[in-house]
Homo-oligomer: 195 residues x 2
DNA sequence: CCAATATGTTCAAACGATTGTTTTAATCTA
DNA sequence: TAGATTAAAACAATCGTTTGAACATATTGG
């Protein structure tokens, strides 16, 4: 991104789309927040959808990068790596999980065009780690692999979605997030481990 | 609800709001799906928001009812009861979790006006069950209670959100949902149990 | 080195389409 | 006939996008 206007639009649109959803944000609202003329959105991103897609692309790409480095590790370490990556990515890109979750619940065209292939890739990563763990005898062999994968995704991600709602009861620091991630993955691993 | 037009609107709006989110659905779209005149929405529900609130109210009320009957049980049974209630409510009201999740990610006015007090009540229910379990020695005493509660909510609910995306890989029958819920709560309970 | 041209960007204004809501008249029901 | 309900039309407001002029900066030719 080599232009100031482009960057201002990109930065201003992220929290708006993340907090209100694609349809609930108008391009005039974005332009105002970015202190930029409305037409710049069409000029630089070929419209509202283009801007949204560019944001989604950059955010989901960040997750992919964070997870991909765990390929060779033993099964349990791969799952811990996933958990750590989720918690770290959330401090680096505070809105990424909101975008993903928002698309999961109320999909836009970005789901089919951008997100799906990444999400399936994460899913396969977890599936394989769990299956390898079962095969090598460290995880229970009565597990449904698909369900177990979704369990981990759920336990790792929901916290970051719900957090804003519980900010009165909860410590919301970076350290607290990391502590959550560790306790959650420990509960999960203890729960699937062969006794 | 004592009127046919009212009921048609209500029924038609549920899947639309659930799948696309509040802002992405127009009242003309709803009226068309219900085979009813647009103005009926204002006439019966005092506008789009009124219709949406009525739907949210009825759905979140159903969860509250399902969970409230577990008060006297021992801690572990309370958590199992919560898990079972979540999975059952989802087969009875297939869109309830979409509404809740949608409001969590992209809150509308319904979050403050309707959902918050119910969600906090569920949260207190889980917090207390976990704390009681720690106090009576069946759960690990190094648990962060708040985090543990959110872990359970996450592991129980995410599956039902993600399911539609994985319908090619996953058995999506009622029995499969129940099987998921049972495996998930078992993983969780095994993970927090004192050894 | 300056003037002329070309290119890239910003701006306010306007476009037609669609938004939620209201109005007014027609229709149905009791 | 009185009141409740439906229907079509119109309301102002806002939607995403496009337009064409204004502006800035860089490139070219003499």
């Amino acid at each position: 991104m080599d232009n100031a206007t482009q960057e201002k639009l990109f930065a201003a649109a992220i929290p708006l789309f993340a907090e209100k959803g694609y349809a609930a944000v108008s391009i005039r609202e974005i332009a105002k927040a970015a202190d930029v003329n409305v037409s710049s959105i069409s000029y630089y991103f070929r419209g509202k959808e283009g801007l949204y897609h560019a944001i989604i692309e950059s955010h989901i790409g960040a997750i992919s990068k964070a997870i991909s480095s765990a390929e060779g590790l033993p099964p349990e370490e791969r799952l811990r790596h996933y958990a750590k990556a989720i918690s770290e990515i959330h401090t680096k890109k505070p809105y990424v999980i909101r975008f993903v979750q928002s698309e999961l619940v109320n999909p836009t065209s970005a789901m089919d065009k951008i997100l799906k292939k990444h999400l399936f890739s994460f899913y396969r990563f977890l599936n394989k780690a769990i299956q390898d763990g079962i095969d090598s005898g460290i995880f229970r062999d009565d597990l449904d692999v698909h369900h177990a994968a979704l369990s981990l995704v759920g336990i790792m991600n929901f916290y970051f979605i719900a957090k804003p709602l519980f900010r009165d009861f909860l410590d919301t620091s970076v350290e607290a997030d990391a502590a959550y991630a560790e306790q959650a993955v420990n509960i999960y691993l203890e729960g699937i481990r062969r006794k």
